[in-house]
């Protein structure tokens, strides 16, 4: 089964390699991986999409926790979560296809971020099914290039009645 695992790590050199080594050394698969610093610049958040039965996922989570530069591991599948992925899709367009390309982009709430007389580059964001559906529809027009960010995900906050005033996180507060 597919799992999305959030891994909070130290933001220093070699950490990505430690995590990647762990997966390759033990024969686990990384389907997608995205890394970026968090609000605290000394830490980065990795979002790893992987596959495995319960036993394998348990091992992956434990092994990740064992890595000394890993601060926190959350298997997002254990609760509700939202996931997003962005794709930049560059398509060849003949004159007669240009309107069609824009229509498809529009259906998926994509944006044209670059345009030449013969190409469009369309940015589309959504869950993985939406992104893939968009790509599938655009493909017949002539796909020139495609990059995807890999998925990022975050746990849904449980709904609380009469929630206290949420504290604002400001960058300056650190």
């Amino acid at each position: 089964m597919e799992h999305i695992i959030s891994v909070l790590v130290e933001n220093k050199f070699g950490v990505l390699s430690r995590v990647a080594n762990l997966f390759s050394g033990r024969g686990y698969n990384i389907e997608t991986l995205s890394v970026a610093p968090t609000l605290d610049p000394s830490m980065s958040m990795m979002t790893i999409v992987t596959r495995g039965d319960d036993k394998i996922i348990e091992q992956i989570v434990k092994q990740l926790n064992k890595v000394i530069d890993v601060i926190k591991v959350v298997d997002l599948n254990e609760s509700e979560f939202v996931e997003r992925e962005t794709a930049l899709i560059k398509i060849h367009t003949r004159q007669e296809d240009r309107a069609e390309a824009l229509r498809i982009a529009d259906i998926f709430r994509g944006k044209v971020v670059d345009s030449t007389p013969t190409t469009y580059t369309i940015e589309v964001t959504g869950d993985v099914r939406k992104v893939e559906a968009c790509i599938n529809l655009l493909q017949p027009l002539g796909l020139k290039d495609l990059v995807r960010t890999g998925r990022v995900a975050i746990a849904r906050e449980p709904v609380r009645q009469a929630a206290a005033q949420p504290k604002r996180i400001l960058k300056e507060e650190k």
Binding site: V9, E10, G14, K66, V70, I71
Partner: protein, 591 residues
């Protein structure tokens, strides 16, 4: 206080209480060796190969329980120490290896003797560091020792570029460190321990399965009390030998591929396996799907990844073995188990039956070739009162030593278990001898294994480390030959060593003492002689080259399906012809 990186390094070692380090210099670490040369607190043992330095650090760590330290140069120095690092990682040995590195401005330029030390060692260390600023050196060394020694112990590598060793920086050595991503669990979960107590009360056919973790955690006393309180039989893995007294009536000896018949049968037919500081290695479980099919499993280990990695565990307890056993014992005492011990009588009867059916035994006819088991037995008889430390290499001799050399105390057994590193034995023995100059240190080796690190005989002689090396010389890679007999119809592909060196002359060439026995009657004499000499000794024992090591569970077999003796269908191979023209001096083989 401003010090050079090299001075900081030495100062840190002193603060860690390091008395001995093992190493070999080279261009980028000269500054460090230079500073070491000018002080007396830390002894440097110069090895002849970096692999030797790494294994000596391991032997030192295993025998003392303190971290072993090695210092080697960049490039080839570091790559040579990779095998000891992997070995230490597999067997959880706390060593700290310092490697030299090219100056920081040259890193990545393919400089002379440059290698990506942290990249190469990343998958085979618990953690590693590249020091980029001399001001960080003290902090990093403190963290290195802290990581190596805490939690599940393991090797740590610190890579020190030349300019970091040369430059001056602020010396700062914190008393304690904390790392936010690293918080080992020592206390076991109380609820799980309670579950374990209940399971132990209910069990009719329980067995304790002890691994090396019991030794690293210094839990031998707690283990003994626990076993005696519950009267549960004890199986030990290869790494655990000595964690529980081998001569104790509750001990069933070693389990696993070449374990005793009783130990493997007991674990297979048990209804409760209490795994303590062990990791269910495939050499222990055999076929995983058939491992103790009827049993509930309690698993106590400090490393959560060990739990449910290979086998299903019913009651996992993450924690330090010593701490958890204490807690377990206290809870067991608080809830008296009534007649549980009484109810286990039939289980003990069954075990005693197994013990009697296939005891570990061998036959030594007086006029036949020397049996390797006989040699081990005789060494044991002559040294058991001297409380020796025993190291081994890897292969048949290792298994025979594990079977026939009874160990009653922890930290007396140095062997390479997980990685199975041939060439481990002699340097490991030297490491232990360097720590305990007055103790008797024995190395039981094979002719194949010994040749993998025999250059360290020079280290032994120069540093007056009087280890006694007993080579069970069968002119074969014996374990390989045994598998070829059993599974490859006796085709001895690359297992025959042809002309092995004359080990007596070799010893003499190193200015050590060489002795040889070719007949049964000579064995006692050479052992006694070797023990008398206060110098490193090599004893060449020409043993029966075709003796196979039993019991044996074939790889992937189930634990109750042991081979007890040479099976009738086994096809013994022909002795290969010598490749040395006109020579066939192999007296034993032609005899």
């Amino acid at each position: 206080m401003k010090l050079t990186g090299a001075e900081i390094f030495v100062e840190c070692l002193k603060r860690e209480g390091v008395k001995t380090i093992f190493g070999l210099p080279g261009g980028v670490v000269l500054k460090i060796f230079d500073v070491l040369h000018q002080q007396k607190d830390v002894e440097v043992i110069l090895t002849r190969h970096e692999a030797g330095a790494g294994h000596m650090a391991e032997g030192y760590a295993k025998a003392t329980g303190k971290p072993g330290v090695a210092l080697v140069t960049s490039g080839p120095g570091m790559t040579n120490v990779v095998t000891p690092l992997v070995d230490a990682y597999m067997d959880s040995v706390p060593i700290v290896v310092f490697t030299g590195q090219v100056p920081t401005h040259l890193i990545g330029n393919d400089a002379f003797q440059e290698a990506d030390n942290v990249g190469i060692s990343r998958p085979c260390t618990k953690y590693n560091f590249l020091v980029k600023d001399v001001n960080d050196l003290g902090q990093i060394i403190k963290e290195a020792f802290y990581i190596a020694m805490t939690g599940r112990p393991g090797p740590v590598l610190v890579d020190i570029p030349k300019d970091v060793a040369m430059n001056k920086g602020e010396f700062h050595y914190p008393d304690r460190v904390s790392i936010r991503g690293y918080n080992p669990t020592y206390e076991g979960n109380k609820w799980q321990i309670k579950q374990a107590v209940e399971a132990i009360h209910k069990a009719r056919k329980p067995i304790i399965y002890v691994g090396g973790g019991a030794i690293f955690s210094n839990a031998h006393e707690e283990l003994l009390e626990f076993a005696e309180l519950t009267q549960i039989p004890v199986d030990m893995t290869l790494m655990a030998l000595g964690a529980f007294p081998g001569s104790h009536p509750l001990s069933l000896g070693m389990m696993g591929m070449h374990g005793s018949y009783a130990s493997n049968m007991a674990v297979h037919f048990s209804d409760l396996v209490i795994a303590i500081g062990a990791r269910f290695d495939d050499r222990v479980t055999g076929k995983v799907s058939e491992f103790c099919p009827e049993a509930k499993v309690i698993h106590i280990d400090i490393d959560p990844t060990s739990i449910r990695k290979n086998v299903h565990v019913d009651i996992p307890i993450v924690g330090d073995v010593k701490t958890v056993l204490r807690e377990l014992k206290a809870m067991l005492k608080a809830t008296p188990n009534g007649n549980a011990v009484e109810q286990r009588k039939p289980w003990w009867n069954q075990i005693n039956e197994w013990k009697a059916k296939h005891p570990l035994t061998y036959e030594q006819p007086p006029d036949a070739l020397i049996k390797p088991q006989y040699v081990i037995d005789r060494i044991y008889q002559f040294t058991k009162d001297k409380d020796p430390i025993v190291s081994t290499d890897v292969g048949q001799h290792q298994m025979w030593a594990a079977q026939h050399f009874v160990l009653n105390k922890p930290r007396r057994w140095l062997t390479s278990g997980g990685l199975g590193t041939m060439g481990f034995g002699m340097p490991a023995a030297l490491g232990a001898q360097a720590a305990f100059r007055d103790k008797l240190v024995l190395c039981i080796a094979g002719d194949g294994s010994f040749q993998m690190n025999m250059q360290e005989m020079a280290t032994a002689v120069v540093n007056k480390l009087p280890v006694k090396v007993f080579i069970l010389n069968n002119h074969f890679h014996g374990m390989v030959r045994q598998w070829q007999d059993l599974f490859y119809e006796g085709r001895y592909a690359s297992s025959y060593l042809d002309t092995v060196p004359d080990f007596v002359k070799l010893a003499e060439a190193f200015n050590a003492v060489g002795l040889r026995a070719t007949k049964v009657g000579e064995v006692d004499g050479v052992i006694k002689e070797a023990l008398k000499v206060d110098k490193p000794v090599i004893v060449d024992l020409e043993v029966d080259p075709y003796e196979n090591c039993y019991p044996m569970i074939p790889a992937g077999g189930s634990n109750h399906e042991m081979i007890i003796e040479d099976p009738p269908e086994m096809k013994r191979g022909e002795k290969p012809a010598s490749k040395v023209a006109g020579e066939d001096k192999d007296a034993v083989l032609t005899a």
